[in-house]
Amino acid sequence: MIAPLILLLLSPHQGEVTVSSEVEPTVLKLGDDALLRIRVSGAEDVELGPLPEVKGLALRRTAPPSRSERIQIYGGVRSRSVSLVYAIRATPEAEGEYDIPPIRVTAGGRTFETKPRHLTVVRDFRGASLAFLDVVGPKRPVWRGEVFRIEATFGIREDIVQAGTASDPALRAAWADELRDAVRLEASQPSPDVAQRIDLNGRAGLVSRIGAVRRGNAGFVAWRLAASFVASFEGRILVGKSFFAFKHILRPGFGLFDEGEREPMFADAPGFEVEVKDLPEEGKPEGFGGAVGNFRVEASASPRDVKVGESLRLVFTIVGEGNLEFLEPPDLERAGGFERFRFFGRLEEKGEGKRQVVYDLAPLGEDATAIPSILFPFFDPEAGTYRTAKTDSIPLRVRPLPPGERLAELPGTPGPAVAKDDLRDAKPVFSVRPAPGGFRPSQGLAAAVPPSLWLGALLLRERRRRRERDPVGWRRRRAASAFRSRASLLRAKFGGAGVPGACAELAAAVAAYLADRDGRSAPEAWIGVDVAGLLRERGEPEEIARGFDALLAACDRATFAGAVDRGEARALLERAVELVARLERGGGRR
């Protein structure tokens, strides 16, 4: 059961969206086209962003994307992967170096960007006699999960190097970055005495200098670049065409502004395919953890003289060549023979050519007299069959617990052992709610309501305080406010018929205003009396007092004699408003 999961780990997770891009070829002659392929896996709702504009390089989509679906079933685990491949044709207009910027891709609701790609366009491929490039892959079909190696050997003719007329070596090999359907393994860096930095796919990369080699009658100074991969899928892995380029110095430069004359030279190696076969189901041993290669195993334990329940370290080491990084070491908790041991945990260490697992375990009884031999099944790719390596059993001396001491109370145990099925079980989900987003506007509104209420209460309190502080002023303001309201209603009436009635209402409004303002009299007390005298009594200015008197007299005339037209009536209203305003601004004090 574990093996298929390990193998599946090598492939992109189902449901995980991945976006990759590749350009082929990376070096081309002027007049040829390159193809940029953008592969989107794990999503079908894909939208390709606008193609970037690259000066001197025309980019255009060739056709609708091609769709492929891959379904795999391993040990009852079914995985399905859908891929869409967009092809973009790149047509250069002139020779030179081109950088294709990242292209935005929206897939599965997320936005991705492809890696920037580099393209070299030359007028002609010259230099095949001055340099060489060999790229070799595995000589036979490889197995899924097997580590295979691709190696490029390249060089420049010895006489050119010795004359110092070669510069800017560059390798254009897409496989050195990534290979579709294979996982690139971390490569160890070349040792410092042979390492040389060159341009590798547009970036600085380290290669190993291997010195002089002979090819035919010519001698070359050569370098090597190797990369290891693990095959993830059954099928064919395409390794594209590779190029080695350098500049042949025809005339050296003499200064900052004279770079001399240099001619680009190229050597190429054809592309090829690596065939990947699936591991056979026949003969697959129990506990196979996806190990493909040639391995041997060792085990050691310390201390070997322990009490019941006392922790000991079991070091299990896998040595050999193969997919050490990806294989699953034996699960001793489930392996036969380890029932009389309690496992506290394990630590893993990976080193060059080895994988080490340190199990922390303790014997549960005196009858655990030996650590059983550990079986490690693996697939031997050379022989094409499964094999099983095993360790020797390790004898132990297990002493009983002192009387009265219980296993669970042993000191130094990091925690209770995890039983095989110690997980709390899954629960049914009763309600479906959308994934939580940010704050909602309704929450902002809810947060704003209480402070608004408080501000309202503050205003109310302030209004009440003002009224208590200055009751006369408050009464006057209210009277003026009430008059202004009535005046605005009267303005509409003066526009229509019934001018005498409206003038009577104006008189009543003015009387009501004067009475409200006074606070001691009814509105009737201000009708038909000497208004000017009353106002003078209350200390109002003479001019305003007489104004009110004249206004009320005019209203009376208009009401009873009907001697005003609409314009005059409106003037009366405006006069009343003005008088009230003047009284409020500078009225006399009581």
């Binding site: 690139r184 380290l206 990084e325 945990g345 709610r433 408080w454």
Partner: protein, 240 residues
């Protein structure tokens, strides 16, 4: 803009009934022991817009049952964001950590404080803050209109409560959310720069919990407790 995109995604997502059916199927498959199928169905439901502590917890169990303990731990951690006080989630976090070889140390003062600060969900803290705010301003308004010593005392108490709630909410929004924790899914070297060929600083084990500091293309910059900072391919960690 994010709100608008979110609304569009919700519109594009399958209706709730369909998501509910997916979850029912997933649970039935889990019960039947078809953990990988159940896992895929839970993931499908999450992709369709549903989420929650129970879903993440169940998905974590599927990952655990298929032996993928690091992914299980990541899902349990996500479940804890929704259900911070759920005993089952906490228990399974401990189981996953032990399975991955990490002992759970006895909690220190910092851990206890951190546990208290993370014992509430963002939704709960927001609700409590709104309630405390309503109470505080309501009492202030009452004090304005009917001043009394009791109203003054109560509004001062409510003010302290509001301050605490806002402090916790601020911690959740600006400290915890900014931390962007993640779980390492596979043994991975942390590198000095976001390139494969760069120097390896240290190796991270599956299940190690790290902080994401930054991202660049397909790489993320992380900080591992007591080990420093480094760059990892983004596919090797799952943010929680």
């Amino acid at each position: 803009m994010n709100g608008f995109l979110g609304a569009c995604l919700l519109l594009l997502a399958p209706p709730r009934e369909e998501t509910g059916q997916l979850l029912e199927q997933a649970f039935a498959r889990y019960r039947a022991g078809e953990y990988a199928v159940a896992r895929d169905l839970y993931r499908e439901a999450i992709r369709s817009g549903a989420d929650g502590g129970e879903i993440r917890y169940d998905l974590g169990n599927c990952e655990a049952r298929t032996g993928n303990w690091a992914a299980a731990l990541a899902q349990y951690r996500r479940a804890q964001a929704y259900l911070p006080r759920d005993a089952d989630v906490r228990h399974n976090v401990d189981v996953a950590r032990r399975k991955l070889g990490f002992a759970t140390p006895p909690p220190g003062l910092t851990d206890t404080l951190e546990g208290l600060l993370s014992a509430f969900t963002r939704r709960e803290l927001l609700g409590a803050s709104l309630a405390a705010e309503a109470l505080f301003f309501g009492l202030l308004a009452l004090q304005c209109l009917r001043p009394s010593r009791a109203a003054r005392g109560l509004s001062a108490g409510a003010g302290v409560g509001l301050f605490l709630c806002l402090g916790l909410l601020g911690h959740e929004l600006f400290v915890r959310s900014a931390r962007r924790r993640a779980v390492v899914l596979a043994e991975t070297p942390a590198r000095s720069e976001p390139r494969r060929e760069r120097e390896e600083l240290f190796r991270l084990r599956p299940g190690e919990e790290v902080r994401i500091l930054d991202s660049e293309g397909e790489w993320v910059r992380i900080e591992a407790r007591g080990r420093g900072m480094g760059w990892l391919p983004s596919g090797t960690v799952e943010s929680v």
